[in-house]
């Protein structure tokens, strides 16, 4: 069904190659650095578009490549895409040129390193998503950490060192336990004494409930830190606040999703029983995250911190959607991930634009900007509405599906989660009012340049996507559905639940009748 060209490898390694190439260029020529990285990232995006075009909506992994790497440990270089990863890959390739473009003015020092690291990060992210081997996944997973560490630490704000070390240590605690968990599972999945890290083999592993619970602890710690779920979120505001705009965009846009992706790829298929046992805890944590993130976002004075906490809230929805184990929830979660990547990414970009203009991120320093920068105000408005989940924009689809699925599972949970809809409006409209509306109180704000051509080029594709995805979600939903069905099957196998919540409810009904 596919060509012989190793599309995914090209997609993955092109950024790495450019990273190396960039390192060979002289330090001063920042124009070369950014144009080169822009071209490459655009080209990567094109490749990913080709992949998307040829993607067939089934649950079968596609564009698969396999090359044994370490036979001894059953590790191979094995990549493929399926419905879970394809759109996250697209998100990565879509956001990277934007991140490159948005850094043109902001990054003036060490451009070679900066753009190189962005591309390295892209390499890591794509690799994580396309890896079909658990160890390969892990390798890429950790590779993502390094450029982010440097990006925050080298181009960040005042407390960048604290933030980046916190980010690294937080992430490492989780990921090293993940490593242990993966190895353990791989041994369990071994056939005839030969350990195997192929994810497909891992999916067939049989684990006792006790093992599952422990492994769930290890896996979900790693992924929940990355997501981040409620009590493990404190690295995020710091990292976001200190990171440069591009870093924040990637962090919020893609890196956080890796946690969710991990749940989809590993936790649910491998540990179905434990997932079900832990579901109430995870759901409650997600709901706390939704409400807590929103409330705490409201009291922030730093715009970027506000947006950062809003991520906690949004990702709470995603996790909530996953842990109700129904197709709608999974699909909604998936969709919400992409939405969050776009809307929060856009918000961070806007915060960055404001920062470039005023060199502050304190809400009190702004006010009345809609008058001086009307176009920016429009862009901000649309991004905010997308984030709030206004119907017609992308955010709605995800939230709606998630809440619907949650309601089907438990109306009470849904009621609590839906209160986040109100709170989301509260903090974002509060932000918008403080920044864009009201009289101009600071003299500096009276003569700010409006959206430049470059900035418009950055924002327009995002805004268009928000609208398109809000009105035509089906092209995406259709492609992710088979894979989601498959996970649902895997996760619900142990508890004899069926995949679609409709069917699940019917079965409930049936059993009630039967009892009677």
């Amino acid at each position: 069904m596919q060509m012989n060209v190793p599309m995914l490898s090209i997609l993955t390694f092109l950024p790495l190659g450019t990273f190396v190439l960039l390192l060979l260029t002289p330090q001063g020529s920042s124009k070369l650095h950014r144009n080169l990285s822009l071209c490459v990232s655009l080209f990567v995006f094109l490749i990913s578009c080709v992949i998307l075009k040829d993607f067939i909506p089934t649950s079968i992994p596609q564009f698969a490549e396999r090359f044994p790497l370490i036979d001894k440990w059953g590790i191979s270089y094995s990549v493929s895409v399926d419905g879970i990863s394809i759109f996250l890959v697209m998100l990565v390739t879509f956001l990277t040129p934007i991140v490159v473009l948005c850094s043109y003015k902001y990054i003036t020092k060490n451009t070679r390193e900066y753009y190189g690291l962005i591309l390295l990060l892209e390499f890591g992210m794509i690799g994580t998503l396309v890896a079909a081997d658990a160890m390969l996944f892990y390798v890429f997973w950790e590779i993502m950490l390094v450029p982010m560490f440097f990006i925050i630490g080298m181009w960040g704000g005042e407390r960048r060192v604290y933030a980046t070390i916190k980010f690294v240590l937080f992430t490492l605690v989780g990921s090293l336990l993940l490593l242990i968990g993966l190895i353990y599972t791989a041994w369990k999945a071994s056939k005839g004494g030969h350990i195997s890290f192929a994810i497909s083999d891992m999916h067939n592993v049989v684990l006792s409930t006790k093992e599952q619970l422990w492994l769930f602890g290890a896996f979900s710690l790693a992924f929940a830190i990355k997501v981040p779920m409620f009590p493990l979120h404190t690295w995020l505001p710091d990292a976001h606040t200190e990171a440069p705009t591009g870093g924040s965009v990637i962090l919020a846009g893609v890196l956080l999703k890796m946690g969710v992706y991990g749940f989809l790829r590993f936790v649910f298929p491998i540990l179905p029983t434990a997932s079900h046992l832990f579901a109430p805890v995870m759901i409650i944590l997600s709901i706390i995250g939704i409400i807590y993130g929103a409330l705490v976002a409201f009291v922030q004075t730093d715009i970027k911190k506000l947006v950062a906490y809003s991520s906690v809230s949004h990702l709470g929805y995603v996790m909530l959607g996953l842990f109700v184990f129904s197709l709608q929830g999974f699909q909604g979660g998936m969709y919400q991930m992409i939405n969050h990547g776009l809307s929060t990414g856009a918000l961070f970009l806007i915060v960055g634009m404001l920062y470039e203009r005023r060199h502050t991120r304190l809400m009190s320093e702004f006010g009345g900007l809609a008058k001086t920068v009307p176009l920016l105000a429009i862009v901000f408005m649309v991004s905010m509405l997308s984030s709030v989940g206004l119907p017609g924009l992308n955010g709605f689809i995800g939230e709606f599906l998630i809440l619907l699925a949650t309601f089907a599972a438990s109306p009470l949970y849904a009621a609590f989660a839906a209160s986040g809809v109100i709170l989301g409006a509260v903090y974002l409209f509060h932000l918008y009012q403080k920044v864009m509306f009201g009289p101009i109180t600071k003299q500096e704000n009276e003569k700010l340049p409006d959206l430049s051509f470059r900035e418009a080029i950055i924002m327009i594709p995002i805004l268009l996507l928000m609208v398109i995805m809000g009105l035509f979600p089906n092209p995406i939903l259709k492609r992710t559905e088979p894979s989601m069905q498959k996970i649902i099957q895997q996760v619900n196998l142990s508890t004899m639940q069926t995949r679609d919540f409709s069917a699940a409810l019917q079965q409930d009904q049936g059993s009630i009748n039967h009892d009677r």
Partner: protein
């Protein structure tokens, strides 16, 4: 006999090289020539290990030359070679004479190491271990201008001599129990169960030997010398010690565990478990609080020794997974620690070495290439994939998990997080802090040879980690590396 000589060439060449340099230094002192001889001897020696493909027994069983010895010897040569090319810059800066003797000592130690990895006799082991140790005592004290260097030599000598005495007494007791020092004979005796194996003195004797090795690895509670000695010794020496001695002792310990400890002293596993846990924790906690980079690396190598022991916990004569993991880990660890030590030393100026973290401020940006190499090494030390350091830890954890030591693996993993703090701290200083004005005097000294050494280490970190294909004979693909490690270790199975 000629065949024997040919087989012994990897030992003879460095030994001869050492003697030649000794002689030359007395009459025609030339550092460059000494370096040349050293490198040549190392390369030649490495080339001649090619003959070690098959198994041979030499000197009535005292040496077992086999593929295990081959792969180990190759790395001994690699380490010595890199340690050698890193030295000139240091000696020049420190304004020291006797540079030639350094190379000679290095070669003598190499010869000793090569014998050790092939040794199948406790006394051969001991004598050569002493050769290596005494050589390093001297190398530690070579920076005579430095108070610290002298102190380091003194401390190393004092503790080292004590450990040697313990070990020797242990070997004597083993000899008493079994009537032989030949490992094969001892193992056979233990397995036949008719000899001193059943005597209660035997485990104690083994313990005394083990203590000697634990000391050399720097494991708790025999670790205390390590930070001081590492800090005080001339940095190339520190690198050599951290890399070479650790590797050789570890490799020898594999043999000993398989032939001696595992059958003769089953309770050792539990002890090793605890020592491993405490060592990594103490090493990491100690390193967190250091402001001196060299000392930090010293503590961190205590922690690394702790990781290494994970492999020993998961090692026995029937399950060689641990052995493979240890071998790989040693190879990777020795290269990266050597690389990082020679990097660290390049900031040193004449006089007392005081390598504060602050001294590295902004270095990564001023010296981008060196910075990149150092970052690779640091990431590898932390255990960030895809570098070899990660795969070392991975294989250790994997071996431990295979044998059911989940707790140990988890503790190891959590300890890695601690270690990330101080390794990343160095990168933080290199990239994220601007240098103070007063720090100008301690800037990095460019030295092509040092950079080459670092580059070799870094490239190997990548290639031994994920190299998909073999390039020539000396850059194996990761798959073939594991195959040869597997083959090497399988020799140990009886």
């Amino acid at each position: 006999m000629t065949a024997d000589v040919a087989l012994l060439l990897p030992v003879i060449i460095p030994a001869l090289g050492a003697i030649i340099i000794f002689l030359l230094s007395a009459f025609f002192p030339s550092r460059a020539f000494a370096l040349f001889i050293t490198v040549a001897a190392v390369i030649l020696g490495a080339v001649f290990t090619h003959g070690w493909n098959n198994s041979y027994t030499l000197f009535s069983g005292m040496l077992h030359i086999d593929s295990f010895a081959q792969i180990s010897a190759l790395f001994c040569f690699a380490i010595s070679g890199i340690a050698a090319i890193a030295a000139p810059s240091y000696f020049k800066r420190m304004n020291l004479d006797f540079g030639e003797e350094y190379y000679a000592l290095l070669l003598a130690a190499t010869a000793g190491m090569v014998i050790m990895v092939a040794a199948n006799d406790l006394m051969v082991l001991f004598i050569n271990l002493e050769l290596v140790s005494i050589t390093t005592y001297i190398m530690c004290g070579m920076n005579r201008n430095s108070q610290k260097s002298t102190e380091s030599a003194l401390k190393y000598f004092v503790t080292g001599a004590a450990s040697a005495a313990f070990m020797l007494f242990g070997i004597a007791l083993v000899f008493g129990s079994t009537g032989s020092t030949d490992l094969t004979v001892i193992a056979a005796q233990i397995h036949s169960g008719n000899s001193g194996f059943s005597t209660p003195l035997f485990p104690l004797a083994l313990l005394l030997i083990a203590i000697g090795f634990f000391f050399k690895l720097g494991l708790f509670p025999f670790h205390a010398w390590l930070p001081d000695v590492y800090e005080g010794a001339p940095t190339p020496t520190t690198g050599f010690m951290a890399a070479a001695i650790r590797t050789v002792v570890g490799i020898v310990l594999i043999r000993l565990i398989v032939d001696l400890f595992e059958p003769g002293m089953p309770s050792l596993t539990a002890i090793v478990w605890w020592i491993s846990v405490i060592s990594m924790t103490i090493g990491n906690l100690g390193a967190i609080r250091q402001n001196n980079v060299k000392r930090m690396l010293g503590y961190s190598s205590i922690a690394h020794a702790g990781y290494l022991l994970i492999g020993f916990v998961a090692l026995s004569s029937t399950r060689l997974l641990g052995a493979e993991a240890i071998l790989y880990y040693l190879i990777s660890y020795s290269l990266m620690s050597l690389g990082i030590f020679i990097f660290v030393g390049q900031v040193e100026q004449k006089g007392e070495s005081d390598l504060q973290f602050d001294s590295y401020r902004g270095l990564g940006l001023r010296q981008p290439f060196v910075g990149l190499l150092a970052s690779i090494l640091l990431l590898s030390l932390t255990g960030i994939p895809p570098f070899a350091g990660f795969w070392g830890k991975f294989s250790l954890f994997s071996a431990a998990l295979h044998d059911g030591y989940t707790g140990l693996a988890v503790i190891g993993a959590l300890n890695s997080v601690l270690s990330a703090y101080y390794y990343f701290r160095l990168m933080v200083n290199m990239y994220m802090k601007t240098p103070d004005a007063r720090e100008t005097n301690s800037s990095y000294v460019r030295a092509p040879l040092v950079t080459t050494g670092m580059a070799i280490c870094s490239v190997l970190m990548i290639w031994l980690g994920i190299g998909p294909v073999s390039i020539g004979n000396f850059l194996p693909s990761v798959n073939s590396l594991w195959v040869s490690i597997g083959n090497g270790v399988s020799v140990l199975l009886h």
